[in-house]
């Protein structure tokens, strides 16, 4: 069968790819996509730990559901901010909106 | 069991016998028989869906024509039966144009995704008590999830066509589709509530009294939201031929356009099947325990009756404007479905073992409907009064100096 280590390695790889996306992307929506990848990796970790170590206690799945709720709300507000910034500055490249007022 | 009592299981065992012999002979791993049988099941269900589209297009054209007091196609074979084949041949032989600057991968995948998202729903439809594609215990939620693939395909189609009108049409379509998902999910929750489970076969088996009797308002909300989700009149702004020039699939020709159309017809029939399953008792009916084949007959009868109602609505009602559509959704359907969810949940739990359980729920639905109609009348009257304060004056006469009372 599948040992726990495979899931953890997969989640670690997904998290690192998401981290690279957050640091390296210029487009603000691209940064948000990196954050989404990291949250996906966290969910895989949580559910894998629930399944392999303590399947009777529902805490693992509840935690994963909370992460879903948090990621959905964060994407909503983040994209609203991105659209608002685009209306003012006409750009959403992260290295061009680095000043509060010009 | 004989072949009439359970044809599918009979065929299944016969094929399994043959395949097991072959697998033992070739020394393949043990799960191969099951895998091949599942694969054959998948192919049969998918092909059934696609073949049904041929019949549905003919039926649609005939029924719509009769509503419009004309005959419909009657040249291509007796009663025009071969018209759909003629349409298919025409679409296949059309030139396949890709607009310049179109995003090739999205452009080609969008129609596939649109049809796939409909056929995926057929995986959880139970034809009888034992003939289910995949008996998962979150079937209702799976249906909701698969619907969102269709939305993605609309967005991809509109974006990749490199056409402003396609993009605008795609935005409007996506706005409509994701708005009407909210009352759809809420109305889907009510059979789940009444059956205490999300598995579709469990919902069908829990319908001692059909859920349309226990919850007629959620049935209407579900039907309305589904008609909006599939983009039929009166909500067919997605493809309003007279307005936005066919919306997000302007740039599609030939078989790709045929796939969009096929997906839409199949989607209409699929939601009829789902309405039959969730609200009308599915495959239940007399004598269905001894002859499971009758379950398929009952389900298809109920589905075709609901499909006839969908076609009736399409032929009768005019198109709704986009702002009226949004107002109807957010200001009417969502509060109504929330109220119905709360009312049904409270009453179902409070009167669970009561003998008048059915009548109480039905009565609650009628009361909510009456209150809603009353609220609509009062607000409608108020709007009319606001519009009446314009003074009526004859044309081409200058207004007097003092303002009228």
């Amino acid at each position: 069968m599948i040992p726990l280590s495979w899931y953890l390695i997969f989640a670690a790889a997904l998290f690192s790819i998401g981290l690279y996306g957050v640091f390296a992307r210029k487009n603000a929506v691209g940064i948000l996509m990196g954050i989404e990848l990291m949250l996906n990796a966290i969910n895989i970790n949580l559910v894998a730990f629930w399944r392999y170590l303590n399947p009777t206690d529902m805490a693992g799945q509840v935690f994963a559901l909370m992460v879903f709720a948090v990621s959905a709300s964060e994407v909503a507000v983040g994209l609203a901010l991105v659209i608002s910034i685009y209306r003012r500055r006409k750009t959403i490249a992260a290295d061009e909106v680095h000043e509060l007022k010009w | 069991m004989t072949i009439w009592e359970d044809p599918i299981k009979f065929l299944n065992d016969w094929l399994a016998g043959i395949l097991n012999a072959v697998v033992d002979f070739l020394n393949l791993p043990a799960g191969t028989t099951n895998f091949i049988l599942n694969l054959i099941g998948v192919i049969i269900v998918a092909t059934f869906g696609l073949l049904l589209v041929i019949f549905l297009t003919w039926l649609e054209r005939k029924v719509a024509a009769r509503f419009q007091d004309r005959f419909g196609p009657n040249r291509a074979g007796p009663y025009g039966i071969f018209q759909s084949f003629a349409d298919m041949i025409k679409l296949i032989t059309k030139e396949d144009i890709t607009p310049t600057g179109a995003d090739k991968i999205s452009y080609n995948i969008a129609p596939l995704l649109s049809v796939a998202s409909v056929i995926l729903i057929w995986a959880v439809v139970p034809f009888t008590a034992t003939w289910v594609g995949a008996d998962i215990n979150v079937g209702v939620l799976y249906i909701a999830a698969v619907g969102s693939f269709g939305i993605l395909s609309v967005l991809m189609a509109g974006w990749s066509s490199n056409n402003k009108y396609a993009l605008l049409g795609a935005f409007r379509a996506v706005a409509q589709l994701i708005s009407y998902e909210v009352p759809l999910f809420l109305a889907l929750l009510i059979p789940v509530l009444l059956a205490r489970s999300m598995g579709i076969n469990t919902i069908v088996e829990a319908q001692g009294t059909w859920f349309v009797v226990l919850a007629p308002l959620p049935f209407l909300i579900f039907l309305t939201s589904s008609i909006a989700e599939i983009g039929r009149t009166p909500f067919d702004l997605l493809e309003a031929e007279s307005e936005i020039v066919a919306g997000f699939h302007i740039e599609y020709t030939g078989m790709k356009y045929g796939m969009f159309m096929a997906g839409e017809f199949l989607h209409a029939f699929t939601i009829s099947v789902l309405t039959g399953i969730l609200f009308f008792g599915g495959w239940q009916g007399p004598m269905v325990d001894t002859y499971p084949l009758l379950g398929v007959v009952y389900l298809m009868t109920k589905a075709f009756i609901v499909y006839f109602i969908v076609m009736w609505v399409r032929s009768t009602l005019p198109r709704v404007r986009i702002d009226h559509l949004m107002a109807f959704n957010w200001k009417f359907l969502v509060p109504l479905s929330l109220v119905m969810l709360i009312v049904t949940a409270l009453l179902d739990k409070a009167f669970e073992a009561h003998s008048l359980h059915t009548w109480i729920l039905l009565g609650a639905n009628v009361v909510v409907a009456l209150i809603t109609v009353q609220i609509l009348r009062v607000t409608g009257r108020r709007k009319e009064k606001e519009l009446e304060t314009f003074p009526k004056r004859p044309v081409a006469v200058p207004p007097k100096e003092e303002a009228p009372a």
């Binding site: 997969f10 790819i17 210029k26 392999y52 959905a72 | 991968i105 969102s148």
Partner: protein, 173 residues
Amino acid sequence: MSPIQLTFLAVAAFSLVSALMVVTRPNMVHAALYLVVASFGVAALFVLLGAPYLAVIQVVVYIGAIAILMIIAIMLTRRIASEDLVVVNAQAGWAAVLAAILFFSLLIILGGWDSFGALAGELPPGSVDPAALGEALVSPQAFVIPFEVASVLLLAALIGAIVIAWRSSRAGG
């Protein structure tokens, strides 16, 4: 290699390749579509892990809502002149090094943990049913308070997103 292991390897490889495409494609709509594929791979892994409800919720939330929201935001915030041909900013090399360091240190730390290679036990009979999850979410002895706080958070995010993206040129703002 049992079929389940092959399935896991195929889905995981598919998902990781899509995730790499998400962070490297210059065309943002393509990146969003690859995000959809990666989320779908993660949903398949949830099914393998015995949490079908979470798998379907993953599809509904990530693919049905978040990905569509991102694609619409990308379409609304395009620069008309040119698509950004430069994907990464100046610190991209250091970002890659940091990601690699994080990955390997996670592996080293987890590798020293004794349950690292644990195999899955049997699932207790009621736990695949959503009813168990539902009870855990609304039972006062379980997690009803985080559930309510999450709903308040979602309400706040809903109102906040509308207020932030409201066009202030309208009368009254």
